[in-house]
């Protein structure tokens, strides 16, 4: 494990930070699984899978509450400063974003139920194509953000936040395509609304995943890159860091 979490003279402190880190990864794994299943419910038109997602939603919430409790305990007991403080703050923010991704997964599951539970006609695969593509992109982004959190790897996090926001682009073009479908046949409107809600939920997942990657950069480097990604990414593209390459931060 990295020096970011270890090396304290008080051994128990190392344990507490490592434990927090692991619990966030546990929560991340669960949230990822929730999203995967919610998308599966859509693809397979399987209402029972959607129900499973909705049933598990409270587990995500409980993990958030539990980790929050631990965060408060560590702050109270250890008065973290510097890197430790950044770890604690980043964890606290990361779980909020993870919980929101969990909410979006539940929303998707809910919408899947709405689409496939009823007697009404189901949207054509044509209409659903964007949802599937965007879902895969969102899962991929979440995976990458969790990996960068796991390894505390700034390079990976930077790659994620500085990459073109494909999900956003997909969302925009999906809206345009939906508009075309509606012009062709106004009876699609009910499905179109469902699909907008779905793609919006998926697009949000991408934003939360990017937030998590931003917290990783703050945690390891102390650089708050929120709301200034443009200048950050430009600077990090041109300047290689001569003083402390990332590898030096790890043992």
């Amino acid at each position: 494990m990295t020096r970011t979490l270890e090396g304290h003279t008080v051994q128990r402190y190392n344990g507490e930070l490592n434990n927090l880190h692991l619990r966030v990864l546990e929560m991340g794994g669960l949230v990822q699984d929730q999203l995967r299943h919610a998308l599966l419910a859509l693809n397979k038109k399987d209402v029972s899978v959607a129900n499973t997602v909705l049933e598990r939603e409270h587990t995500v919430d409980e993990l958030e509450l539990g980790i929050d409790d631990d965060v408060i305990t560590v702050i109270a007991k250890r008065s973290p400063v510097a890197g430790d403080l950044r770890v604690i703050m980043s964890i606290s923010k990361t779980i909020a974003d993870l919980e929101r991704i969990g909410d979006e997964a539940a929303r998707i599951a809910h919408l899947a139920k709405g689409l496939y539970e009823s007697e009404h006609s189901q949207p054509s695969n044509h209409l659903m194509r964007d949802v599937t593509t965007m879902g895969e992109l969102a899962l991929q982004m979440l995976q990458e953000s969790l990996e960068s959190f796991d390894s505390l790897n700034v390079d990976h996090a930077r790659a994620l936040v500085c990459r073109e926001n494909e999900l956003d682009i997909e969302f925009q073009s999906s809206l345009r395509r939906l508009a075309t479908f509606l012009l062709e046949d106004a009876r699609n409107v009910g499905h179109a609304i469902h699909i907008v809600l779905l793609t919006k939920a998926i697009e949000r997942v991408g934003d939360h995943a990017r937030n998590i990657a931003e917290y990783v950069i703050f945690m390891v480097r102390g650089e708050d890159v929120r709301h200034r990604l443009g200048s950050y990414c430009e600077a990090s593209n041109t300047a290689s860091d001569p003083v402390a390459p990332d590898e030096d931060r790890t043992h």
Binding site: H8, T9, A82, G222, D241, A244
Partner: protein, 304 residues
Amino acid sequence: MEHVETQLPTPAFQPALLSGVEVDTPVQDSVRVPRSATVARDSRDTIGELRVEQPRIRCNDVNVYYGDKRAINSINLDIGRNEVIALIGPSGCGKSTFLRCLNRMNDTIDGCRVNGDIVLDGVNINNNRIDVVPLRAQVGMVFQKPNPFPKSIWENIAFGPRIHGLAQDKEELDDIVVTSLKRAGLWEEVHDRLDQPGTGLSGGQQQRLCIARTIAVGPEVILMDEPCSALDPIATAKIEDLIDELREQFTICIVTHSMQQAARVSQRTAYFHMGDLIEVGATDEVFTNPRHELTEDYITGRFG
């Protein structure tokens, strides 16, 4: 409680009283490090903002030797006006030694040599021609253990102004005593027993008495060497509150082993390590994002 603010006496000595000791050394500046980068453990260069505009004290290439042993190595540091600067670092890192340079307390230690420039208000005080008695009124000191004189509370405060000739008569002396006690936040607690011995006060009150005694001679700089380490949290909070108020009028330099205290009371923090000044910077930054790995290790509790 009537609120009469008496004017404190003007400083016991003015820089003009000193025989002109010219200062003409180039000012050493720190190594510039980009915000996001960290400096590896083996580097001993000072990083951070060690110079300020219009410093109260400017130290240039200060070295201290105890016999053959060099205790602090080439320290360059400015101490600004109306700021609290915290000196932190593990035991034996030289922070107290450095603090004692600022009012020549190291003169009292056998075999201790100090070289380099320590410029207070434009005058190099690290010079044999300087009279240390008025210097120590100008740069007062509060110690780890409260050390009131075994005399009355009134006498404890009046002693300094009297020997420095700051008061013409008993009335003026009374004024100074009252004002100093008020400034130190002790007046309410002791105004009805000024004739009682200072040693009869609680630890926290004794420490505030010592601060009042320091203030009474009209210093510009107050040095504090772990002023709260012998006090309980309540007394500590009172002293910290007091430090924050005193900053308006004085420059305060505090050595502390409590990182939290440094973070709470100071505007700038300097981290010492084995005689080297490693990092200086705004306290907010040092405690959220230190740039030197040694600083990070120390304040987060990763020793050795």
